[in-house]
Amino acid sequence: MVDSRQYRKPSAGIHPPYFYPSYVSSVKRAPMRPLIVIPQTLSEMTGPVFGHSDIGATDADLTNSGGGEPLGQRIIVSGRVLDENARPVRQALIEVWQANAAGRYLHKGDQHDAPLDPNFTGCGRALTDEHGRYRFVTIKPGAYPWRNHRNAWRPMHIHFSLFGAGLLTRLVTQMYFPGDPLLTFDPIFQSIPDEAGRARLISAFDWETTIPEQALGYKFDLVLRGREAIPMEN
């Protein structure tokens, strides 16, 4: 039997608008016409399923991608992936990518005059466990300049891409760090209308996961769309 319960619609203020002029790249790329509302069908309620064969044993350790130790503050980023009904999302594939400690991405498009680190690619992948938990070992990314406006700097962040139970739970977001003074001035972070929603994109420093003599812990929980309690009559 196919589960026909619909996924909840995100409430207003949770996601950024498409057209957000202070983020200049959105001006020519945001659709101008209203999106067309359609029912959720089998095509969107299903989605790609990933397993352990899709990732490598060391993919969740970004400090282990080159020959030696990357430069920077070693950190543990961990948390849980839940749905709106507070149920763990199991076997969710998480892809992360980030700049190195100097604020430079290993990408031909990044021309920022900061050094590349031969021991850091900035790419990680993990699957959540049966409690929805995930854990990455990495280094704290640096802030970096971009050309959105004069003297624009992106706050420190790690990109997160998640596949949950189906296409409708797909989420790409960014995790930020507590106390970063650049957050106030960043149009991408500020594009989330809801203040509490913005706050949820900021990880929390965490003693529990901090490892003595080794790495600082940051907690970051994510919530994907969940289904309504009651099946909707078609």
Partner: protein, 185 residues
């Protein structure tokens, strides 16, 4: 208890670093049954400039209309997932098998289609659209196409390059007169 959903943020310009491991431009290996098709096109912005830093994710059923991960999953191992970046000219291209019809709402039947998720710098949240096949008779009764104003439906139709060819063209336009139809789900 319900928890608030985590907000979306753009993939930014450097998504290849994290998303390249899942780039898949050939969705169907040789043993997979069905009509082999190539779908190609360009992604264009509001000034019809090609977008070199977009990526499309494709999700589709097999030739008999079965989705991977369901109890009716294809036995062939066909997963139905692709992830396709655009090149410096804004072009993308992938090969697959034409999906079959799948169940729609209220006992309706959906015409063969692929769901497409669109990611790029400048999109704070991904977009959702669909590719249908222009020469498919079942489009006439498709329950989703019916919800799209007639004058915009062509933006969802991939056109066969020439009669009998297995190559279809479908362009994605973010703005302008032929702005692609995007869905709110």
């Amino acid at each position: 208890m319900t928890l608030p959903v985590t907000g979306s943020q753009t993939v930014g310009p450097y998504f290849r670093i994290g998303m390249a491991p899942l780039f898949r431009e050939d969705l169907a290996s040789e043993g997979v049954a069905g009509e082999r098709v190539t779908i190609q096109g360009r992604v264009l912005d509001g000034e019809t400039a090609p977008i070199p830093d977009a990526t499309l994710e494709i999700w589709q059923a097999d030739a008999r209309g079965r989705y991977f991960g369901t109890e009716f999953a294809p036995e062939t191992g066909f997963r139905g997932f692709g992830r396709v970046p655009t090149n410096e000219r804004g072009e993308f291209r992938f090969t697959t098998i034409k999906p079959g019809s799948v169940a729609g709402p209220s006992d309706s039947v959906q015409a063969p289609h692929l769901v497409v998720l669109v990611f790029m710098r400048g999109l704070l949240r991904h977009l959702v659209t669909r590719i249908y096949f222009a020469d498919e008779a079942a489009n006439q009764s498709d329950p989703i196409l019916k919800l799209v104003p007639a004058e915009r439906r062509h933006t969802l139709l991939a056109k066969r390059e020439n009669a009998g060819a297995a190559t279809f063209t479908w362009n994605l336009r973010l703005q302008g007169d032929d702005e692609t139809v995007f869905f709110d789900l």
